[in-house]
Amino acid sequence: MMCPDNPKIKEMLRTIGVSSVNELFSDIPREVRIERLNLPDGKCELDVKKEIEAILKKNKTTDDIVSFLGAGIYDHFIPSAVFSIIGRSEFYTSYTPYQAEASQGMLQALFEYQSLMAELTGMDAINSSMYDGATALGEAALMCARLSHKSEFIFPRTIHWEKKSVLDNYSKGCGLKLKEVGYNAENGKIDLKHLKELVNEDTAGVYIENPNFFGVLEDEIDKVKEIIGNVLFVVGVNPISLGIVKAPGDYGADIVVGDAQPLGNPMNFGGPLLGIFGCRKKWIRSMPGRVIGLTKDANGKRAFCMTLQTREQHIRRSKATSNICSNESLCAVATAVYLSLIGRDGLKKLAAINISKARELAQRIDGIDGFKAPLFNAHHFNEFVVSSSLDMDVVDEHLREHGIQGGIRLNEHFEELKNTALYCTTETHVAKAHDALIKALEELV
């Protein structure tokens, strides 16, 4: 209870014309009132810190164990300066920049994010964030339906099952039918023949992921484009790969989605992430989410503001292009800072290192009796499928005993892939990490 003797409080009550704070709640019917919240009373900072420290100590971090997990969230090097900048309270304690004049910092930083990602993806416009890669895909499907007025959306089997579920939920509302296109069992790439069969006049859009969920680089992308023709082409990317992989804009993508978590955002046990959403100029007005535009102030000086707000829910309500309101702006700023720090040459190098390391690790695993890696005969980015003649449960348990977290298991969601796992490696793995894995696997045979 607020101290009723506080003279300031008394004065405020007097100004309002009530005799107690309780009076301000007199409009709340007795029948809906509660006694109190059944929670402990408030604690001091130190006690709370100690309590949470004790809880969190039960976690193992990627500094404690060697982890080969990827599958949508990646452990990449993040320069400390990224945290310094997004730790600036003018950024992190600000609201959506509704008052442009007082918010140029955030607006310019987001414009820079949009610009950097536009360059990476080859799109004209990138919005200032979606929740994550999965919802960005969902929004892309909706946008395709909106633009095309057609009823089917084609997506590859080689995406993460969670993404598929999200896509499903996002498509439900507008009655979009989802069609899954298979993959080539030998090389893990999209099954072009199957794709050809699925595309028809009802196709609102086609989604391809590059690299796909198996880490495979879809290098027959030109043929995909050929097959789908003028149908809206949505491409999902791992943005780190774009340091050396062709920009989707250069192979015909209309919409690009993905998750920019790898660009300067920690794994955080799953979130926040950073949904990338970009498109060609001609589709901009149908885009979901916030966008920042370059403009002028009353003195003719360059300035920035939110624009195309008439697409958004706070203006357009039920006719908005999306319901998104709060997004992941601060993560977008982190990504802008990250890309500025890593730079052109750094990003190229990082992408190349990821490919090199993954290839080398796959080869080493492949050299062990009873293991095959990569399972698919193709170029990979930083992930690849490992298959084994051993029971993967046994393998994982063995690795765990050695402080190693193996890749994510695939069997449950890809029935055809028994005893397989998706392994990931990045520039953060020291040489010893690979050695430890190889040694542990060798012990199994």
């Binding site: 704070v21 809880i55 997004i86 920049p97 918010s103 994550d132 979130g271 926040p272 309101c325």
Partner: protein, 480 residues
Amino acid sequence: MNYHQSRYDEPLIFEIEEGEPIKVPNYPIKDNMIPKNLKRKGLDIPTLSEESVVRHYTRLSQMNYGIDTGFYPLGSCTMKYNRKVMEEIAGWREVTNVHPYQDDAAVQGSLEIMYRLQRMLCEIGGVDAVTLQPAAGAQGEFTGLLITRAYHELNGEKRNEVILPDSSHGTNPASAVMAGYDVVEIPSKAGCVDLEALSSAVSKDTAVLMLTNPNLLGLFEKDVVRISKLLHDHGALLYYDGANLNAIMGITTPGKMDFDIVHFNLHKTFGTPHGGGGPGGGPLGVKKHLEKFLPIPSVEYNGSKYHLDYDRSHSIGKIKGFYGNFNVLVKAYVYIKLMGSDGLKEVTERAVLNANYLKARLEKHFDIPFKNHRKHEFVVDGSKLKERGLRTLDLAKRLLDYGFHAPTIYFPHLVEEAMMIEPTETESKETLDDFVDAMIKILNEDVELVKNAPYNTSVRRVSEVEAARNLILSMRMYEK
């Protein structure tokens, strides 16, 4: 007034002199790693030194208003102060450097935090189960509506209407449409739900009523029990938009008001920072009968270990990758621990006191429709400004010159030239008084002065018209 925001002629990151960038980890790179036709040609991003980048963004940050630099009376946004210890804890490696797919045994800490937060939110919301997955309030709404659909479908019903009051937040109708519903907007009466209008709107097609209480005018819907009963009698559900929870904690709960579904905006009520737009968190709570529809996984505790439970009979599946914005969840957990049962009630009391005090002081100078007490916010009618040739927008811009953020303006639509003001509990009387003084002073300032405001911000009034007319959303579009 002596305020001036920082001002730098700051170039775009693309326009800064290139320099020696930080090193990236070394590794021998093999050639021919990439299929020829996937080889990238150009990559037109700059290569800068760390010092250039840090100076650039430090300067930008100074050209940005945040709750740490001043008062943010944005109605409906609950811009409260964000405790620093929340940031500190959320920055620990045990929070940040953990992969969501690590073995359960290696993430007991994360799971325990989530489990406990679920329980705490159940208590605060008066509900039986909570999912932490939604990334924000709007996604909570969307999730709630998918659950509504699943619920009715399981009952063999095809209900296709969502009812909302006209004062509802834009995300409500937008979410409804995304979930495939038709929106039925009902008019307000004296700022509250018009029971008659509601009665005639409700039908066997009604899936759910979306409401927030207190509503966006800051008025408590006194008839909430009758409203609930009306909807439930028609087999419809009730959805509580949790954005205004800051006005009722410790006094009542959505569950107690008989709502079936409620979302929480962690970045409003629970003091996690807004981050210039996000990330936030929008956990969703439901009563028992809807639990089985919640997204997977939930976090469960078997008495000795925490685990992720994917086994939910009628789950709608996933509405987002992984388990939600975990880092934000940690902050909310810390917040609730710091506040506790007593503190949360004090939050409510002070938030309501502050709002009513501001209103009492302002209503001598401005039109403030509806005479009742408010809860945490209130709406000013700015139409009288027109008599002097001013608009609410002008007043808003002029406030920036005084070092204040402007209120939410032109919303809700049912008040003309609206200014929606929510002070929150973390502002002192002194700040509120200074704000009122500025508001009054502006009323008496030269009209031209006010119309051309602001002057003391890093740029002068920004042209949104120009931005929309000549659309430039990226450097690529700028250069072309």
